[in-house]
């Protein structure tokens, strides 16, 4: 079976709203990490021009799972997924996301979850022609729960590993790494397509969960896991992450 992707680009003009330009100026940001969702990423010329006119340098990259430079997916939500070199990450004064909604720009907040320095994530929504900011306060409840899930994972013995059959998200082999890393834990592998959250409680012997499907499930859906959940990448280095969590 063949598959065709149609990007469905935004049909109207894409540019920074006056409010966003004023904000960048007022904050005196000199280096901006620029990202956009697929609908807007091919239409960033005006935005780039506006930033250049204001002497703001653009730092960007092609994140791990994307096909285009500056494109951001919700799942590119951890430190190394942006493919920005350490120096570039450090040099960015703030991130600027072009698009609507909070789901994608929150990936840039999650990227910084284990970092001591938090950079602002500015959203310029071309549809509503407005600016808004997303930051850790938007996900404070999630991150608090995530931290306790990490602690729970370290002490739990019976762990449920969730694996999806979706070809794009299936990570069975990488999940097996957990066996080497945690030989004292008993790991149970659960297979599903979309995660059936209402089935979790039917397996009461599971003490906590590890998600290996979309990495946003372990974060955004934290409250649906009564016994807690962490993502595979964090499970593999849980102790280290807890140590440096600020």
């Amino acid at each position: 079976m063949e598959v065709l992707f149609i990007e469905a680009e935004y049909t109207r003009k894409v540019e920074l709203c006056p409010e966003a330009l004023e904000y960048l100026k007022q904050k005196n940001y000199r280096k901006i990490g620029l990202y956009a969702s697929v609908q807007f990423v091919s239409k960033l010329e005006n935005v780039k021009k506006q930033l250049q006119e204001h002497n703001i340098e653009i730092i960007t990259s092609r994140p791990d799972r994307t096909s285009a430079v500056s494109q951001l997916l919700g799942c590119d939500n951890y430190r190394h997924s942006l493919n920005l070199a350490g120096q570039e990450l450090a040099a960015v004064d703030a991130y600027l996301y072009i698009g609507d909604g909070k789901f994608h720009p929150l990936a840039l907040v999650f990227v910084q979850k284990n970092s001591n320095v938090k950079k602002e994530v500015i959203v310029n929504d071309p549809i509503a022609n407005r600016l808004f900011i997303v930051n850790e306060t938007d996900v404070a409840v999630i991150l608090n729960r995530y931290k306790s899930s990490l602690m729970k994972f370290l002490t739990a013995r019976k762990i449920g590993i969730i694996i999806t059959v979706k070809p794009g998200q299936e990570q069975f082999k990488p999940a097996l790494e957990l066996e080497k890393k945690f030989p004292d834990k008993k790991l149970f592998y659960f297979i599903d397509n979309n995660i059936s959250f209402n089935q979790l409680e039917n397996f009461p012997f599971i003490e906590t969960w590890v998600n290996t499907a979309c990495p946003r499930i372990g974060l955004d859906d934290q409250e649906k896991f009564v016994k807690g959940v962490i993502n595979l990448n964090d499970a593999l280095r849980a102790e280290e992450i807890l140590r440096c969590w600020t």
């Binding site: 079976m1 990007e7 799972r65």
Partner: protein, 88 residues
């Protein structure tokens, strides 16, 4: 003009090129209301159009089992090619 470019021309071109007879269309939630128009226009060129009811979280979320229904072509709107990363 719609807010997002549906690009039916590209869809029709792909259908002709692949000689598909049964096509499944998959749309993210925000574009699902366009299914009526897409179904109407693609049906006109003589293909059977099946509409995926479920999720479309991204290009990582391609429906499984479509071949059992004889689907020759899946057209997925709102995403581009997904580069799968083994381990993360």
């Amino acid at each position: 003009m719609t807010l997002y470019f549906i690009n039916l021309e590209q869809a029709v071109q792909k259908i002709r090129q692949t000689k598909a007879k049964t096509v499944c269309i998959q749309l993210p939630d925000g574009m699902k209301p366009y299914a009526e128009e897409i179904e109407r226009d693609l049906s006109k060129i003589g293909v059977r159009v099946l509409i995926w009811l479920g999720s479309n979280f991204g290009a990582c979320d391609i429906p499984l089992g479509l071949q059992r229904l004889g689907v020759d072509l899946l057209i997925c709107w709102g995403h581009n090619k997904f580069i799968k990363k083994e381990g993360w």
